[in-house]
């Protein structure tokens, strides 16, 4: 459903992504891992249209979207969250989410319908009691939920989750994992997620891609990836890979 072919992205002399191929199929939960600076978030920025790639092509639901501006990609059904949460300041939670509903894939909703839908999504993500609060009054876990709620407001076909588990404690991670599954099951949303928390990625993803220095080094089931020598050497150094 979402495919990238030989995606290359450079920042000046630095090649952040080098001819990366990937594919996410409908209904999957796919993980994207790699050490810091390996190009994970850059890849998400290329997919959502914030960065233009220097080479390669992107396809979504059979259409070439390489030249589409970000808002058009979102309209087509590519939703995303940001690693460092970026709620719309000055707007309460309902307004944050309702704005997404108004511009999302099912357009034509009136203001009242949008609010109702927003409240529904906030209930789904466990934020009902804080619906009238402002983002700066929330703890990190709830802000991460708000990122997800706002992305869900678009009614996306594929959701790019950028480290929604980072900085959460084990209990919070447990409920975030549960939320990830619920999103796929209730909304039928395909999920592509960047994650460092191994517990989260191992238990949710059916397939994992590994990036290192902007190059895709391997791809496979969680077990295959975890035991892959190149992955071990990327994370722990070459000495450990030999063991």
């Amino acid at each position: 459903m979402l495919t990238g072919k030989k995606i290359t992205k450079r920042f000046g002399g630095l090649t952040a992504l080098s001819e990366v191929d990937f594919e996410v199929r409908r209904g999957e939960i796919v993980g994207l891992i790699g050490p810091n600076g390996s190009g994970k978030t850059t890849l998400f920025n290329v997919i959502s249209g914030i960065h233009r790639p220097e080479g390669g092509d992107l396809f979504f639901a059979g259409r070439r979207i390489t030249d589409f501006p970000p808002y058009k990609r979102a309209q087509l059904g590519i939703g995303r969250t940001f690693q460092i949460v970026r709620p719309l300041a000055g707007l309460n939670l309902v307004e944050n989410v309702a704005t997404g509903v108004l511009y999302g894939r099912k357009q034509g909703a009136g203001a009242r319908e949008a609010r109702e839908k927003a409240l529904e999504i906030l209930a789904f993500t466990g934020l009902t009691e804080k619906a009238r609060r402002f983002p700066d009054e929330l703890v990190l876990e709830d802000r991460k939920r708000l990122e997800i709620a706002r992305a869900l407001a678009l009614n996306p076909e594929v959701l790019l989750l950028d480290e929604v588990f980072a900085g959460l404690n084990p209990t919070e991670i447990g409920s975030a994992i549960e939320l990830t599954f619920r999103i796929r099951d209730a909304y039928g949303t395909t999920i592509f997620m960047i994650e460092h928390v191994m517990k989260a990625i191992m238990s949710t993803c059916s397939r994992i891609m590994v990036l290192n220095f902007g190059i895709k080094i391997t791809e496979g089931t969680p077990e295959e990836v975890a035991n892959h020598p190149e992955v071990i050497s990327a994370y722990l150094g070459a000495a450990y890979a030999a063991c």
Binding site: P70, A74, A89, G90, E95, A98, L102, G104
Partner: protein, 312 residues
């Protein structure tokens, strides 16, 4: 809109419309005329500056363009004075057209750079008009006056400006509650995030900018006709540009009521000071007021009191 505020607004409008029939002094009609005008300017500016957070410091340009377009149309087509009032509407359309041309490149620039670019735009328009002989050049343009008593002509202008103010505020009200308004608020909060929320940011910014230029254009046309003589120094004055921004921010940008409060209070204070105090002292008090409000109420008077109520 809930019923109570709508009825309240209707009552205020009816009372304002009835005012000239009480046969007040011409001074009060003129004073109210400028209150209406500044409410229009501040509320229009608020569409781009308040909701979208794009601080335009060149809005006098649209006001002046409207004024000159009206004066030139009146002269070219030898319009009778009453029709000149109507010529302010196509003049507003011309201002809106200029906003499209200017907005397309300028709205790609964010933050303080946008403020500087719009400021320069106003200077360029001012200079251009002064140097175009066809537009009266540095001498300005005279217009024909209405062939009636002063009080009647002032009353007519009062009512016309009132109509324009009601129209502007109705549009501002609609924008605040519409999908467009929601998109603009998202742009102000975080433009990049807004894009990833499927909001066509470039498109809606232009829409807001065009709306925010149209009404000042029409107001400029009415003002030209009201003055009967216009000069670039008057209608393109940087003071007007800055006053518009201050009024909207003073009352509370990004809200419907804020610019209205700001424009009413500041016009009254300005008028009161110049009547009761010497000009230099009036300026000093006026300036001090701005400093105090900016320090203690950075989000404007309205937000200051709303937050108090909410206990936040």
């Amino acid at each position: 809109m809930k019923k109570a505020p709508l009825i309240a607004a209707a009552i205020v409008v009816v009372m304002l419309a009835a005012f000239p029939f009480l046969s007040p002094e011409v001074y009060y009609l003129s004073f109210m005329f400028s209150v209406f005008m500044y409410v229009i300017l501040a509320s229009s500016w608020n569409l781009i500056g308040g909701y979208a957070g794009y601080l335009s410091f060149g809005h006098a340009a649209f006001f002046g363009i409207g004024a000159f377009a009206t004066a030139k149309m009146a002269a070219l087509f030898e319009l009778p004075p009453v029709l000149t009032i109507l010529a302010a509407i196509p003049a507003g359309a011309i201002a809106a057209l200029v906003a499209i041309v200017i907005g397309y490149p300028c709205l790609k620039i964010r933050g303080p750079y946008f403020a500087v670019v719009t400021l320069c735009f106003a200077f360029v328009v001012d200079l251009a008009v002064k140097n175009i002989e066809w537009l009266g050049g540095a001498e300005g343009i005279w217009m024909r006056i209405m062939d009636v008593q002063e009080k009647l002509s002032r009353s007519i202008m009062y009512e016309v400006m009132l109509i324009l103010m009601v129209a502007t505020l109705a549009v501002a009200w609609w924008v605040g509650r519409s999908r467009l308004g929601a998109g603009l608020r998202a742009v102000r909060a975080d433009e990049e995030v807004a894009e990833t929320m499927a909001i066509p940011t470039a498109n809606i910014k232009i829409q807001a900018f065009v709306l925010s230029a149209f009404f000042p254009g029409v107001a400029g046309g009415l003002f030209a006709y009201y003055l009967t003589y216009i000069h670039p120094d008057v209608v393109f004055s940087i003071n007007i540009s800055i006053l518009i921004v201050l009024m909207a921010m003073f009352g509370g940008g990004g809200t419907w009521l804020g610019p209205i409060i700001g424009a009413v209070i500041l016009t009254m204070v300005n008028e009161g000071l110049s009547t009761f105090a010497r000009a230099e002292i009036a300026r000093i008090i006026y300036g001090t007021l701005f400093i105090v409000v900016t320090i203690f109420m950075p989000d404007g008077i309205l937000h200051f009191f709303l937050k108090r109520n909410r206990g936040r």
